[in-house]
């Protein structure tokens, strides 16, 4: 499909339209940071942000969600009422969008997760190419940015006065058709600017990290004393997992009130000492070193082996938000 163009005013109108229908999830300012949230008023949306504190993965994998409710005595189940109204997830940065492709591999497949798939199916991802990287960004290491996130249905790239718009999937093309009054074909000048902008932003990223052969390199590192020292400063708070756009591990828990029970699942972290401990007390990862090591191996070696995709997209959130400055870039460079 040929690139299209939307000017700033039209985009503002589109945002208002979508938000008035209650369909829009987009970055809004909250204090000094940005969060993705359900937008009520179009003017809340900010597309000049660098990235959100919490990645938009919660659109598909909520922090907490009900799996079903039941009557304790009889075990009669009631599946949750899952909405299937369309959602437009606007302004997703390429790293976070590429993380959706990682989640798709894990949550889709032969034993698809129905909750994830339902949310994913009803959502159109409108990606937003980056204009300036943050100091902690390293998407160049994995080819997951800074333009064209692999989970985009349609991608916006900032040029003078508006955005160049490119549909990537059938869903994206449908979105462009449905809202065609806001779009027009991009001119040669706009496409040229889009191309030079893309080159420019790519040139701004030079992490010096290569992901080639990383799974193998990580595999060989398993017994190395390096991990003892590297894990020393980790306080096992788990923030690295919770802000990670690819971390998908979940815990399952029950809540009971009277004769009614509910089963929930929620984000878990392998940095917790409860993550792999069994009821009898056995634990294949009893020490902090084991758990610290596992996080990196899971992302960079186990997920690649099991799902053929690397579970790091170089968004840098774990780097900037770790309270003790654990830096995955250093770990990768080491190996």
């Amino acid at each position: 499909m040929k690139p299209e163009y939307i000017n700033q005013d039209s985009l503002t109108r589109l945002v208002v339209e979508l938000s008035s229908r209650g369909q829009l999830v987009a970055p809004v300012r909250e204090g000094k940071s940005f969060v993705f949230s359900r937008v009520q008023r179009g003017e809340q949306v900010c597309l000049t942000y660098t990235n959100s504190t919490i990645p938009p993965k919660f659109t598909f994998l909520p922090q907490i969600e009900e799996l079903f409710s039941y009557e304790v005595k009889s075990g009669e189940l009631r599946p949750p009422k899952a909405g299937d109204e369309p959602v437009v997830l606007l302004g997703v940065r390429p790293c976070d969008s590429s993380a959706f492709s990682v989640l798709d591999r894990v949550m889709g497949g032969d034993r698809a997760d129905p909750y994830y798939v339902k949310r994913r199916d009803r959502t159109t991802v409108v990606g937003l190419s980056c204009s300036r990287p943050r100091e902690t960004c390293f998407c160049d290491a994995f080819g997951t940015g800074p333009t064209d996130g692999s989970g985009d249905d349609i991608t916006l790239t900032k040029v003078s006065g508006g955005y160049v718009v490119r549909s990537k999937t059938a869903k994206g093309a449908r979105f462009a058709r449905e809202h065609s009054k806001h779009f027009r074909a991009a001119t040669k000048r706009e496409i040229d600017e889009f191309e030079s902008e893309s080159r420019k932003i790519k040139g701004m990223l030079a992490s010096g990290i290569t992901s080639e052969g990383l799974a193998d390199r990580m595999g060989k590192s398993l017994g190395d004393p390096y991990w003892e020292e590297a894990s020393e400063r980790c306080i096992e708070c788990g923030v690295c997992s919770f802000v990670c756009p690819t971390c998908y591990c979940f815990d399952v828990t029950e809540q009971v009130e009277g004769d009614g029970g509910k089963r929930y699942r929620g984000w878990d972290t392998c940095q917790s000492c409860r993550f792999s401990r069994m009821a009898g007390g056995l634990d294949p990862r009893p020490t902090k070193v084991d758990r610290f090591k596992h996080r990196f191996h899971h992302k960079l070696s186990y997920v690649p082996m099991a799902f053929n995709v690397t579970a790091c997209v170089g968004c840098g959130r774990c780097v900037s938000l770790c309270p003790t400055n654990v830096d995955i870039r250093e770990v990768i460079k080491k190996w």
Partner: protein, 277 residues
């Protein structure tokens, strides 16, 4: 319609018997019309069992597939879910998801001599196998080597005579005997020597505590069994049973979908610290 794998099927508890001090064997029947197909299983597979109001835990099936859709599980009281299951009565409902996992290598087991090594409650998934194998008995020999801490902790004692009649040799041992015990005292690995089995081709299936698995494998290798013919059922913390929750993911494998039965050759490919080898 997309099947939601997270929804347990209601099952009625039909029978409860105390197996050993902290372990009960329950018989359940799933309350669905197509229970026989839905819960068709192979020995070595497990179920995600819900105690409504408390939670869910993975538990091995210990009965024969022939009794399907009636299913038995031996449940040791070790945590909140198993404790609740111990309090359940006949007629109560529990939830079942599954069966999950790969099970023992039946094809191979049907054609070759079989050595089963069990420790403690590790006997449960091997009982399922024991009840399945004798019907296909030909020229092949089956030996069960089973150990527990003391004689009262040997599970399924009333069934040993039947297993022997069906052609299996049974060797028992305990860590500590009592006044009536005339049998072996010591670890299971001691029982693995001088077995009536063709070591070149014999298939060994092990289930028990990690340390027991580790030393049983070591012994079998020493004795000349082949790494790809030695299998063990491994335990892991898990939530979903379908390879999503991440808890049992090690290396390229998920215990819930690629296991819980792994050959020793496969275990050597797994990251150290996970498999007890």
């Amino acid at each position: 319609m997309v099947v939601n794998p997270y929804l347990p099927v209601r099952a009625r508890i039909e029978d409860i018997r105390t197996e050993i001090e902290d372990t009960k064997t329950i018989t359940v029947s799933p309350q669905v019309r197509n229970a026989k197909t839905m819960f068709a299983f192979e020995p070595g597979q497990f179920l995600q069992v819900t105690a409504f109001g408390v939670g869910e835990a993975p538990i091995s099936i210990c009965s024969s597939p022939r009794d399907s859709p009636s299913i038995q599980m031996s449940i040791r009281k070790v945590g909140s879910v198993t404790e609740a299951l111990h309090e359940a009565r006949v007629g109560d409902f529990i939830g079942l998801r599954g069966p999950y996992g790969n099970g023992w290598p039946l094809e191979k087991l049907r054609k070759n001599d079989v050595v089963l090594a069990a420790g403690g409650i590790g006997m449960a998934p091997l009982r399922s196998l024991m009840l399945t194998l004798p019907t296909t008995k030909g020229m092949r020999r089956t030996t069960l080597c089973y150990g527990a801490r003391n004689p009262s902790l040997l599970m399924y004692q009333s069934e040993y005579a039947g297993w022997t009649r069906a052609g299996a040799a049974i060797r028992l041992t305990v860590d500590q005997g009592d006044s009536d015990w005339r049998g072996n005292v010591g670890v299971v690995t001691n029982l693995l020597e001088n077995l009536d089995a063709d070591k070149e081709k014999a298939v060994a299936c092990i289930c028990g505590p990690p340390i027991m698995i580790k030393f049983s494998i070591r012994k079998l290798i020493q004795l000349g069994y082949r790494p790809d013919n030695i299998y063990a059922s491994l335990e892991s913390m898990m939530r979903c049973g379908i390879g999503k929750c991440g808890h049992c993911h090690f290396g390229a494998k998920h215990v819930c979908i690629d296991g819980p039965v792994f050959s020793y050759s496969d275990m050597q490919e797994l990251p150290k610290g996970f498999a007890p080898v």
